[in-house]
Amino acid sequence: MKYALISLTVLIILSGFVIYEKVFNPVHREIAKEPTAFAISADELQFHFADDQETAAHKYIDKVIETHGAITEVGTNTIVLENRVQVYFLNDLKRGLTIGENVNIKGRCVGFDELLLAVKIDQATTIKTN
């Protein structure tokens, strides 16, 4: 009887912890595993923002985007596609990417940077290179 009571208490405390963790500290999104909301070329994506920032912001920000284009700049863990979309990778790149290469990436749209006139995508992963 006493044993049952103790194990019940332990169980309640444990499940309390689990529930607390799930509710108050849920895991972060995994963009690479989420379904793509929009598949669009780098040019077109930037055009939507340059044309009408507000509408594009509501449509794309925080959404999972697949985009593609030629690499115009390579930085530390970041690349620029078609001079219009700045991509920040989630993890260090396994292999070097080179300027001129065509790539397909998947990531989360964070918005339009009016200093660079570029759309920014973070937590990106490469899908494939053409």
Binding site: A57, I61, T78, V110, D113, E114
Partner: protein, 187 residues
């Protein structure tokens, strides 16, 4: 009609292309992956802090003009729920997606910089959440491998930008928010 759209598209693509080159035409030093962190932690409570590693910073080395832009959705918290609340309830990132600082480095002279850090005053305006606030602070500047490295920080309060903190969490969030920055500006 379809033709009109194409013409419009081409015109905009062309114009943004011109502006983009314009940015590099001047003596601008740019960091496209700048680091910004803010902290509003209270002792004994869960840390309230977030980091944005995709911040843009541009320094015109001829004039000392400086601008920096952070897309607020790019701020990452350890706690994903805190991140969600930050975006939805406090900063309202869907309506106000960016934070932008525009200002001047006072008495800036590129030729005075060396690998020895110097303190320089910055004076400008920070705009976010639909509000604007004057910010004056000191940053340290040094020249390393041809790049200008800028480090520093400043404090703001949520009320400066009309961000309301509900009374239920008021004692868990510091009244002053400490913002720290680290930019590696390249020619």
């Amino acid at each position: 009609m379809k033709n009109m759209k194409t013409v419009q598209l081409v015109a905009i693509l062309f114009m943004t292309g011109v502006f983009a080159t314009h940015l590099y035409g001047q003596n601008n030093y740019v960091d496209k992956a700048g680091y910004l962190k803010f902290e509003a932690s209270e002792k004994l409570f869960e840390p309230v802090e977030a980091v944005n590693k995709s911040v843009t910073a541009v320094l015109n080395t001829d004039t000392g003009e400086f601008a920096s832009l952070a897309l607020v959705v790019g701020f990452r918290f350890e706690n994903s729920l805190m991140e969600e609340h930050f975006n939805e309830n406090y900063i309202e990132s869907e309506t106000y997606p960016k934070a932008i600082f525009r200002g001047m480095l006072i008495d800036f002279d590129l030729s005075n910089l060396s690998d020895e850090p110097v303190e320089i005053a910055v004076d400008g305006k920070l705009a976010l959440h639909g509000k604007e606030k004057e910010v004056k602070t000191m940053v340290s500047l040094q020249k390393l491998n041809g790049a200008v490295v800028m480090k520093g920080g400043f404090t703001v309060t949520p009320s400066d930008f009309a961000i309301e903190i509900p009374s239920i969490v008021k004692n868990k969030i510091a009244r002053e928010v400490l913002v720290s920055l680290n930019f590696n500006l390249k020619p």
